[in-house]
């Protein structure tokens, strides 16, 4: 039996008929057709499915779609600095080579956004611990941290998230 759930995804209010047992990750990827959010484990171990829900980062594989009733969800698809302009964090990930195979990247970018919203001035070690739950097996860790710190630096110069 499907349930009707409404949520705001990337600023757009949507209503979806979803089975009650389906995870938010699968809802976004299937019913929502937003496949930028990735499945790397489906059990909360890897961070590839990170989205921002009501302002906080969550592993969307650990949230049921129906729990998102009334929630505001931000995914990688909603990140831009303007029409056809990448978001500040995306821009820094490109500059610093933060994506290799790219599979962990959307989750890490969403985690970074959540981190910088809360702490626009993180130390290197704060960055490392904040994104420690996002595994990058290609292991771009050094470059990812450089990208996050560069984004933070631009925030200090007045750019916005």
């Amino acid at each position: 039996m499907k349930r009707l759930v409404s949520m705001t995804v990337n600023g757009e209010e949507i209503e979806l008929a979803i089975p009650p047992y389906r995870t938010l990750l699968d809802v976004l990827r299937n019913e929502g057709r937003l496949t930028g959010t990735k499945k790397g484990c489906d059990v909360g171990d890897c961070g590839a499915c990170t989205v921002i829900m009501d302002g906080s980062p969550v592993n969307s594989c650990l949230v049921l779609g129906i729990e998102a009733e009334g929630a505001t969800i931000e995914t990688i698809e909603g990140q831009h600095a303007g029409p056809d302009l990448p978001h500040l964090i995306q821009e820094k990930f490109m500059d610093h080579g933060g994506a290799q195979c790219g599979f962990c990247t959307p989750g890490i970018i969403m985690m970074t956004k959540a981190l910088l919203k809360e702490n626009p001035n993180p130390t290197e070690s704060e960055v490392r611990f904040a994104i420690a739950g996002n595994i990058c097996r290609c292991t771009g860790y050094a470059k990812i941290v450089d990208a996050v710190l560069a984004a933070a630096e631009d925030l200090r110069k007045g750019r916005t998230l």
């Binding site: 990827r29 080579g97 959307p106 611990f129």
Partner: protein, 758 residues
């Protein structure tokens, strides 16, 4: 410019950002399981809970009663429809899970449940009950019931054990000797993208969307298994979420899913759980090593013996065989090697990033460090004494070897001279500081490859080659090669890869891709240049008419000879063409006459680094600083510095990225990774990313990569040595060396864990 984009030195290309960086950071890069497929059914595997025995009965009634279940395929259901998988070339194993009732290993596929939804298939799969006639399994080294056979001759890839001189006689003359054993554990690739297969049939043709490192090989392998002509099979893999060897050979699931889709008359998608991937995909075999090394007091090694044992499955002789590299690494004098396979009730292991070098060089470099200590020599100087431009097995020269240059540059950047010799002599508060180093090495392999390049009159270039973007940046470097040869800007190039309908490229393994693909792209571009140059010089009234084609060059969209120029577009207009397209076949020196034909058939002929008149290897030197807590023995890698020389560097940015990723992989290998096994049941225990430890961001601190200038025209036309599997080779031994320096404990069995240091 930032650190991610090192300034090019001599023989290096521009550090351009990845051609697909934008797609990757926006989530627009589509991996196979992202592809929307109309009317797709979802499949879930049912796997064996025992490691050895026979499946006697499968009870599927409860599973079939789950609403939405469409089909259950089990032993017997593929008879006559599907050929058995084969081991070798593009196939990971000969274990035929739905042909046989025999259970060869833990987690073997016993059935496939197909349903309308993933959730229904999962629920039904959990309800399938199986009866087994279980037998006592042998889990691996030291278990009763294992079979040990010589590797030499057991696999065509390992014909013989390399050796030179009289080891016993030389060993007897040694003034200092090391006689030790080392081991490395089972490891799983764990790429971030889950393994998945999506198969759709249309009018007798099947398209398989699955992340692959070898679309052409798989197309042929799959066609044989499905009993159809290869022309009816297409394998598509545009983006791959990490591979590291795990997506090199095709595993039995792929054909089973394609068969399920054929049987159901509907597309079928199977996304394998991470847990099930531990047993249905491949892994790095655990290895044991016995090394004897004899040296004179002046540091010269006179005798080296490396014996290895490697785990494999009962039916398949997968050989790791790293002695080919360790036997050639230094100027040893006499060398003796031997490799044995230990056959147990396990799934068949396979390639994982630097398959032979990771375990074998770990053992060798650990022994080198032990010998340096025994000789009271600086480990860098000890390597210098034994450095050689001639490999000891056949006495062939190295095409180039910048090992000591790497050591010198890395040592300088690392501050090796600040290291004090004594064990535990360096401290920082409660932390014991240790410094160590080791050699990284990887053979320069190259393989036959084809490519098609099209230049249009408006200056756009399209490159097509069935290689694979697995995170290496191959699309980017292929575009750079085309841009450079055709004198066009990088942004004007578009690259298509990851599709078996493109001109075939070799498996993206053995670090061959950049060398092979760039050599083929270069050849196609050169054919385009030749046509343009011919048109330019033979024109009656052109600015370049009458010149020799050899005197022409191409830059910024113009054909040039000194001050005389003609726009490429002009030349094309005169030729009366809107585009020039060339298809090129590149076969490395020494290839057989059938090399390209075989490539089309999915039979790979890779030319290995040790073949040919000169041996070809890329080298590097890695330095590591560890901090070990005085009381808790927590071990942190605080600094990593690596210097690497790999011939022509197409793109310093992607090269640095590959090497850095490799070095961090090496930290995982040194301190974290091991798939643990319950020895009694021969089953893996830690089959998820919570318990299979890999480095996370918080484990990594300062990592520095130095690209050392090197030119080598012997390796291949592109002058490129592969480096995707170089960075991780030296790290584990360098960490072990640093741990010894900090604590005096010589850990010979990986991974190094707190309990080893208490």
């Amino acid at each position: 410019m930032n650190e991610a984009a090192p300034l090019p030195k001599g023989n290096m290309g521009e550090p351009v950002a990845r051609i697909d960086a934008r797609l990757k950071v926006t989530g627009d890069a589509r991996y196979p399981a992202d592809l929307p497929v109309r009317d797709v059914a979802h499949a879930v595997l049912v796997t064996s809970p025992i490691a050895r025995g026979r499946l006697t009965q499968l009870h599927t009634e409860a599973a079939r009663a789950v609403p939405g279940v469409l089909d259950i395929i089990a032993a017997g259901d593929v008879d006559g429809e599907l050929e058995r998988p084969q081991f070798g070339n593009s196939g990971s194993t000969s274990i035929a899970p739905l042909h046989d009732r025999r259970i060869w290993h833990d987690g073997q596929i016993v059935a496939l449940v197909v349903a309308e939804t993933f959730e229904a298939a999962s629920e039904a799969a959990a309800l399938v009950r199986a009866d087994f006639q279980a037998e006592e399994p042998s889990s691996g080294f030291g278990s009763p019931g294992i079979e040990i056979i010589p590797a030499a001759g057991a696999s065509p890839l390992y014909p013989e054990n390399p050796e030179a001189g009289d080891f016993d006689a030389a060993w007897a003359t040694a003034e200092i000797s090391i006689d030790e054993t080392y081991s490395t554990p089972t490891q799983h690739h764990n790429p971030m993208e889950l393994f998945s297969t999506t198969a759709s049939w249309f009018d007798g043709d099947v398209t398989v969307n699955e992340s692959s490192q070898n679309v052409t090989g798989w197309k042929n392998t799959l066609a044989r298994q499905l009993k159809v002509d290869p022309e009816h099979v297409r394998v598509v893999s545009p983006y791959v979420g990490g591979a590291f060897g795990s997506r090199g050979p095709m595993t039995p699931r792929t054909a089973i899913i394609a068969h399920a889709a054929r049987r159901l008359g509907r597309p079928v998608r199977c996304v394998v759980t991470r847990k099930q991937a531990y047993t249905t995909q491949t892994y790095r075999a655990e290895t044991r090593h016995h090394i004897r090394m004899g040296a004179m007091k002046d540091g010269r090694i006179v005798a080296f013996r490396h014996e290895g044992w490697e785990l494999t499955s009962r039916p398949d002789n997968y050989v790791v065989g790293g002695t080919g590299t360790t036997a050639r690494m230094y100027g040893y004098g006499a060398v003796e090697t031997k490799v044995s396979l230990v056959k147990a009730d396990r799934n068949t292991p396979s390639y994982m990033r630097s398959p032979p070098e990771t375990p074998y060089v770990y053992a060798l470099e650990n022994a080198m460090d032990e010998m340096a200590v025994a000789l009271a020599m600086d480990p860098v100087e000890f390597r210098r004494v034994n450095d050689t431009m001639t490999e000891p097995i056949e006495g062939k020269p190295f095409s180039s070897r910048s090992l000591m240059e790497c050591y010198d540059q890395a040592a300088e950047a690392f501050g090796w001279n600040r290291r004090t010799r004594g064990i535990g002599s360096m401290r920082d508060g409660d932390w014991l500081v240790g410094m160590g180093c080791a050699t990284a090495v990887y053979p320069t392999n190259v393989a036959p490859c084809t490519a098609r390049v099209r230049l249009t009159a408006d200056g756009r270039i399209r490159v097509q080659s069935g290689s694979h973007e697995i995170g290496t940046g191959i699309r980017t470097v292929a575009a750079q090669m085309a841009a450079e040869r055709l004198g066009a800007p990088f942004w004007s190039v578009e690259v298509e890869m990851g599709d078996s309908s493109l001109p075939p490229a070799p498996v993206s393994g053995g670090s061959t891709s950049t060398a092979s693909v760039c050599s083929a792209v270069m050849k196609a571009c050169d054919a385009i240049r030749a046509r343009l140059f011919h048109a330019a010089v033979t024109a009656n009234d052109g600015p370049l008419s009458g010149l020799a084609p050899a005197d022409l060059g191409i830059a910024d969209g113009r054909i040039v000879a000194g001050a005389r120029v003609e726009a490429v577009a002009n030349a094309m207009e005169r030729m009366g063409v809107g585009e020039i397209e060339e298809y090129a076949e590149f076969a490395p020196e020494g290839s057989s006459a059938d090399a390209i034909a075989n490539l089309y058939k999915g039979k790979l002929e890779m030319r290995m680094g040790e073949e040919g008149a000169k041996v070809k290897y890329a080298f590097g030197a890695e330095f590591v600083e560890v901090r070990i807590h005085r009381l808790t023995r927590e071990t942190r890698v605080s600094r990593l510095v690596g210097a690497f020389a790999a011939g022509r560097i197409m793109n310093p940015r992607t090269a640095r990225s590959q090497l850095m990723g490799g070095m961090i992989w090496g930290v995982g290998c040194a301190l974290h990774e091991a798939t643990e096994m319950d020895r009694h049941s021969a089953r893996y225990v830690n089959t998820d990313l919570q318990d299979y430890l890999v480095p996370v961001n918080a484990d990594i601190q300062d990592v520095k990569v130095i690209l050392v200038e090197e030119k080598d025209t012997d390796v291949n036309p592109a002058g490129v040595k592969g480096l995707g599997e170089l960075g991780n080779v030296g790290t584990p031994a360098a960490v072990a060396s640093a741990v010894y320096h900090a604590t005096g404990k010589r850990i010979r069995d990986l991974p190094i864990r707190i309990e080893d240091l208490l």
